[in-house]
């Protein structure tokens, strides 16, 4: 955001109305319903709460959710960086279409992605049948969860890293080259440090999205308790058994994790902005 002129009388009307409506709508739609989860859980003692959120089945779901999300976000960090680099620096046929398609996971409803990936990676699917002879099963295994979470996290790294690569100063790379650095040395010592905050932000965004994801995972995961059951699914299972307290306790754990991720992302963006400000 551009800095606005220092303290000056603002003649524009509508501040009270627009801010009032913003706060009213925010409370009504977001804050009050969210607080319901915390207030509901506060009726539990700490021991009861801890007991609910650390049963073996729940812990297994955390392990899968975080493990698969971490792997998915890591795959996206590596390939997202390559895709962003290729889209900015090279020209090749079909580039504009690829660039537009990067956002497909944002635009495609998660249920559609879920059934499409399940169909592809099932044993008789296009990709599943190619992997089956090697004994690799993707659909209805933990591998399937990773595939789905990689899909939905794909745009985050590309879209956060892409503008930073565009703003890279070619002169710095030329200077590095003229001082005798190889292309790889230039990349590691000159380019990567500039991209790093954006890359980490993209990674954190992809991770945060993957942890909460539900629609694309439920179809491909198979949802076997202790093995391929993600935490959001467990919340729904508890709800269907009318275990509102259990579902809400898990939701509070998920919310706390979301808030932590949001904090991390904000810190990373602050770091990225500060770095960008210092270098320009």
């Amino acid at each position: 955001m551009t800095p606005r002129p220092a303290k000056r009388h603002n003649v524009l009307p509508g501040f009270g109305l627009s801010l009032g409506y913003t706060l009213f709508y925010l409370c009504l739609i977001v804050l009050i319903p969210l607080s319901a989860a915390f207030i509901r859980t506060s009726s539990l003692t700490w021991e009861q709460f801890w007991g609910i959120v650390t049963t073996p089945r729940v812990v297994a779901s955390y392990q899968l959710t975080f493990g698969a999300s971490l792997i998915g976000a890591t795959i996206n960090a590596v390939f997202g960086l390559i895709v962003a680099w290729v889209l900015v620096r090279y020209s090749f046929p079909g580039k504009r279409i690829l660039d537009a398609l990067v956002d497909l996971p944002f635009a495609l409803p998660t249920a559609v992605a879920g059934i499409a990936l399940t169909g592809l990676y099932a044993q008789n699917g296009w990709i599943g049948s190619l992997l089956a002879p090697y004994g690799i099963k993707v659909a209805f295994t933990q591998l399937g969860v990773i595939v789905a979470l990689t899909f939905i996290g794909l745009p985050f790294v590309v879209r956060t890293v892409q503008p930073v690569i565009e703003d890279l100063e070619r002169e710095l790379e030329e200077a590095a080259a003229s001082l005798g650095a190889s292309r790889w040395q230039t990349f590691v010592n000159v380019i990567l440090p500039v991209i790093l905050p954006a890359l980490l932000t993209g990674f954190a965004l992809a991770l945060a999205r993957a942890i909460g994801e539900y629609g694309s995972v439920v179809f491909i995961a198979g949802n076997i308790p202790m093995k391929t059951e993600i935490t959001p699914l467990l919340i729904i299972t508890k709800l269907e058994q009318y275990d509102f307290v259990g579902a809400t306790a898990l939701a509070v754990v998920m919310l706390v994790i979301s808030f932590c991720m949001l904090l991390v992302v904000n810190l990373l963006q602050w770091w990225a902005n500060r770095r960008a400000g210092r270098e320009s």
Binding site: M1, T2, L12, P13, G14, F15, L17, T22, Y25, L26, I29, V30, P33, L34, F79, I82, V83, V86, L87, V88, Y90, F92, D99, A100, L101, V102, D103, L104, A107, L108, P109, T110, A111, V112, I115, A116, L117, G119, L120, W126, F151, L154, Q162, E173, E174, R183, A208, G212, E213, Y214, G215, P232, I236, L239, F244, T248, A251, L255, S258, L262
Partner: protein, 306 residues
């Protein structure tokens, strides 16, 4: 938005401006590495994006066009399509009004706690869709705060259409606001101030000065908001109750058909949603192209004035 827009701007300007067009080999990768990286990117994107997209349409038409169209005109599918359209028709305008109000307050005025407010507006993006649905069950469900009161007045929110709409509003809450805030902040207040000085009323200023300036950003936010509103699955799934023909949206209808092993029908309905995604991406690219063009014209004229 800015990302993709500047990306293409950068790649075209690199060609257009002589002297920057062909860089020395020192800052280019070896052709083998270049094509390896392009190959990796294309393979990754074909594998994860293009094949799944193609698969949706192939599976949808696998049993022929008769089965495809039969799946779309079947009463349950029609009511799911209707409910999806109604939901989006209510959720998107509400978030649009909110987005404009929030952007006006945040971008045009200085006040304490602004960054906290921006973070709170973004909050729904970091909440799992399932949790988003659950919190509405906690407020409006039979076990919830307002449940007994709603039941006494014979009103149903959860496991009914109002719950679906509320959950959709929640998950699409930030789209318009987060698109407009940076845009309106970057444009500053000068044009509005000029209009006011010339005697325009506040609303006239908004309709004739602000709105034309933000129309593309607004449209961009609305398109993304609409795509998510029509495609939301997790949050809606929790509050819907899955009553066929009544509280099923298109994504929920896809799930039911799929779980009943009616794969061709499930993919037929899914193909409509995939089509919506493609239209969304197309419009998004169009708006990015449009705003980029407007931005490219400005810098050329600016030096002449100065």
């Amino acid at each position: 938005m800015a990302g993709a827009a500047t990306s293409l701007a950068a790649s075209t300007s690199a060609v257009a401006v002589p002297g920057r067009a062909r860089k020395t080999a020192a800052t280019d990768e070896h052709p083998a590495i270049k094509w390896l990286l392009i190959g990796l990117s294309v393979t990754f994107m074909v594998l994860f994006l293009i094949i799944p997209l193609v698969a949706v349409f192939c599976e949808a038409f696998r049993k022929g066009t008769d089965v495809y169209f039969a799946a779309l005109v079947e009463p349950d599918a029609v009511s799911a399509i209707k409910l999806t359209l109604i939901t989006a028709a209510i959720a998107v305008p509400l978030n649009l009004v909110f987005g404009v109000a929030a952007a006006w307050a945040i971008a045009k005025f200085d006040f304490r706690g602004k960054s906290v407010l921006i973070t709170l507006i973004d909050l729904p993006f970091s909440v799992s869709p399932v949790v988003a649905g659950l919190i509405y069950v906690l407020v409006f469900g039979l076990q919830g705060w307002l449940g007994p009161w709603l039941q006494a007045h014979d009103l149903k929110v959860v496991f009914a259409v109002p719950g679906i709409i509320l959950a959709t509003i929640f998950v699409t809450f930030p789209f318009v606001a987060r698109e407009l805030i940076p845009l309106m902040a970057a444009q500053g207040n000068e044009e509005e101030e000029a209009a006011l000085v010339l005697g325009a009323s506040g609303w006239q200023t908004f309709w004739h000065v602000t709105l034309p300036n933000i129309k593309w950003g607004l449209l961009y936010g609305v398109i993304l908001c609409n795509a998510r509103a029509m495609g939301e699955f997790g949050a809606v799934s929790v509050v819907s109750g899955h009553v066929r023909g009544q509280t099923n949206t298109m994504p929920l209808h896809v799930e039911i058909l799929y779980n009943e092993y009616q794969f061709a029908a499930a993919f037929a309905v899914a193909s409509l949603l995939a089509l919506l995604a493609l239209v969304t991406l197309g419009l998004k690219s169009f708006i990015e192209w449009k705003t980029r063009r407007e931005h490219e014209v400005l810098p050329l004229e600016a030096p002449r004035e100065a």
